[in-house]
């Protein structure tokens, strides 16, 4: 008895009971598609985050001063000197002081983030302007009162008109607008677009108590990132004497931590979805058991005319496999549709189709077919032909 004939038999018996076969498959369909959709969603969100992080560049190192009420302060001058001493591994340094405050133009005002920094900030953090210019070294050195504004601010207080050359009042002091930051993908909703950037010298004057709480550091190349991080740590430990008072982070570290987290998240989501696959498998077993009882007479006839145990066993197993196989394929198709039209269509997260997970969930659905089909198939194969023939 060859496999083609068994497959034909299986398909015949599946198609002769369409509604029931469909309901049996439904468990697998839902299971497989939810695994793939969950994984697609998780991977899509991961992609979203890593994409936006990696645009910042992996040469970027951030120093955050976390210790509050500390009398020791790292000054920009200290760090600048440190950079010059280690220029082979550290390319540039930009200080950042930030506060929130009211900015005003004409009679319109807005509360926004005020970032004090230097010209190097643009290069380190890949910030560009869409009109005018960014801060220059000159602005910091000569204490110029100039400002580069984000588009959210422009849209709000200038009504979208180009503000370059106009004045802006920041915390009550007049500044000259010299440039407009390039609008990011997320538009005005992004915090990166809702800020004004002024020279660090002007920022310290505006707020005498302003402490520079973070620095952006750019390593000379991606190869020197690790040694730069190490040197910075030693340098900072010497100043603060306590490693809890500051934190040195690198994008590559952040990315790898993130990928561990999202990997776990993907596995958890897939695991939860996989439970529905198992439930689907139990559904198959249930229906197959009913089917064995219902087809007792058929099994008896087949045995009487010469079917061996393994013929009956394979017949029922193949039936279970065909059901889970078709269910798996339909599940994959439905998942692709959902990812394309719902997740992609509404731009919730980027569309990600994970081929390995598709193959995996398809494989698992086949395994479920074998595992949960085995018991009913075995029961059918072991029926006594006489009893089966007499069965009403």
């Amino acid at each position: 008895m060859n496999l083609i004939q068994i497959f034909k038999m299986a398909i015949k018996s599946i198609t002769s009971n369409k509604v029931r076969s469909f309901l049996t498959m439904l468990g697998v369909i839902i299971g497989v598609s939810s695994v793939i959709i969950a994984v697609g969603f998780a991977k899509g969100s991961t992609k979203n985050i890593t994409d936006s992080l990696s645009t910042l560049g992996t040469n970027l190192i951030n120093i955050n001063i976390t210790g509050r009420n500390s009398n020791i302060n790292l000054s920009y001058a200290q760090l600048e000197q440190f950079q010059q001493e280690n220029s082979d591994i550290i390319a540039s340094v930009a200080p950042q002081s930030s506060t929130n405050g009211i900015v005003k133009a004409g009679n319109k005002n807005r509360t926004t983030a005020i970032l004090g920094t230097t010209s190097d900030y643009a290069d380190i953090n890949s910030v560009t302007v869409q009109s005018g210019r960014f801060l220059l070294g000159f602005d910091t050195d000569y204490n110029q009162k100039v400002a580069v504004v984000g588009t959210a601010v422009v849209n709000d207080i200038y009504g979208g008109a180009n503000p370059v050359g106009q004045t802006i009042k920041i915390l009550g002091q007049e500044f000259k607008v010299v440039g407009v930051l390039t609008e990011t993908e997320n538009g005005g909703a992004s915090t990166v677009d809702d800020r004004v950037i002024i020279p660090i010298s002007a920022a310290t004057k505006l707020n005498k108590n302003a402490i520079i709480r973070s620095f952006s550091v750019k390593a000379a190349s991606s190869d020197t990132v690790d040694s730069a991080v190490a040197k910075l740590n030693t340098f900072l430990l010497k100043i603060y004497k306590d490693s809890d008072l500051y934190r040195v982070t690198n994008m590559a570290n952040v990315l790898s931590t993130l990928s561990t987290i999202t990997g776990t998240m993907t596995a958890v989501l897939a695991g939860i979805a996989a439970i529905s696959l198992i439930v689907g498998g139990i559904g198959i077993m249930n229906i197959m058991l009913v089917s064995v009882t219902e087809r007792t007479r058929e099994i008896g006839i087949r045995k009487a005319i010469g079917a061996k145990k393994r013929n009956i066993l394979t017949q029922f197993l193949i039936e279970a496999l065909v059901i889970t196989g078709i269910g798996g394929i339909v599940g994959i198709l439905i998942a692709c549709c959902v990812i394309h039209f719902v997740i992609g269509g509404f731009k919730i997260v980027p569309e990600v189709y994970s081929i390995p997970w598709m193959l995996l969930s398809f494989g698992i659905s086949l395994i479920i077919g074998v595992v949960f089909g085995m018991y009913p198939a075995n029961k059918a194969a072991n029926l006594n032909p006489i009893d089966a023939l007499m069965y009403e």
Binding site: N2, Q5, K12, S13, I301, G306, K308, K309, N311, I386
Partner: protein, 225 residues
């Protein structure tokens, strides 16, 4: 062809041991047409199950076509049923979802023949009962007589030496019943060994030899050659 020696069959029903067959000795030669007759509960069904290799005796020897089958396992019995015995049942026992042709193909499929040979032999067998024109019909689209002829075609498909007919006319009207008996007689004339199991004397007398069984014992063996 069939040699039963000292066949006993017991069933245990809870505490009680029921003797279905008690020391049956029966020899059926090739080309015979034997009717096994007995009232219900006489043990004729048990005897048929043993002759048909659907069941094995508790004691005794059963030689079919020079093979000792009383000690075989399930799969060997299945193979014997497939190759040596053609079953004709009272209620036809066709698979309702398969066409007449597919039903007839079934024993050949279990023999492991190639698809082409299976089809060829099945069609040939259907022709021999005159039903080749209806081979694509499902059993429920056929009359009772036609269904029984399909069942006969299925029994003949693998060209087994022994045809075992269990009340083959029981579900048919007298006219179609007569036709079925004619087919059986023809088969016997063509060399098949026919064993007919029935409670109906009028049917039994059409056989060349009548074996009467009652309470698990053969009480009469008439016309033995």
């Amino acid at each position: 062809m069939i040699q039963l020696t000292g066949i006993n069959k017991f069933y245990s029903m809870g505490e009680n041991k029921v003797t279905a067959l008690n020391d049956i000795n029966l020899h059926i030669s090739a080309h015979e047409f034997v009717a096994i007759v007995g009232p219900s509960g006489s043990g004729k069904s048990t005897l048929m199950n043993i002759i048909g290799c659907l069941d094995v005796p508790s004691y005794g020897s059963y030689v079919l076509d020079s093979n000792e089958v009383s000690k075989l396992n399930d799969d060997d019995l299945a193979q014997i049923r497939n190759q040596k015995i053609g079953f004709i049942f009272q209620r036809f026992n066709l698979l309702p979802k398969l066409s007449a042709l597919e039903n007839v193909e079934l024993p050949l499929v279990y023999q492991g023949l190639k698809l082409k040979d299976v089809r060829e032999k099945a069609i040939e067998s259907l022709k021999s009962v005159g039903l080749e024109s209806r081979m694509n019909h499902k059993p429920n689209e056929l009359s009772g007589g036609q269904q029984q002829r399909v069942a006969i075609a299925r029994a003949l498909a693998a060209k087994p030496p022994v045809i075992l007919a269990d009340e083959p006319t029981g579900a048919l009207d007298s006219k179609t019943g007569k036709e079925v008996m004619e087919i059986l007689k023809n088969l016997n004339a063509n060399g098949n060994t026919i064993v007919l199991i029935t409670h109906d004397n009028n049917l039994a007398v059409q056989a060349k030899r009548i074996v009467r069984i009652q309470d698990g014992v053969i009480i009469e063996d008439k016309g033995m050659v």
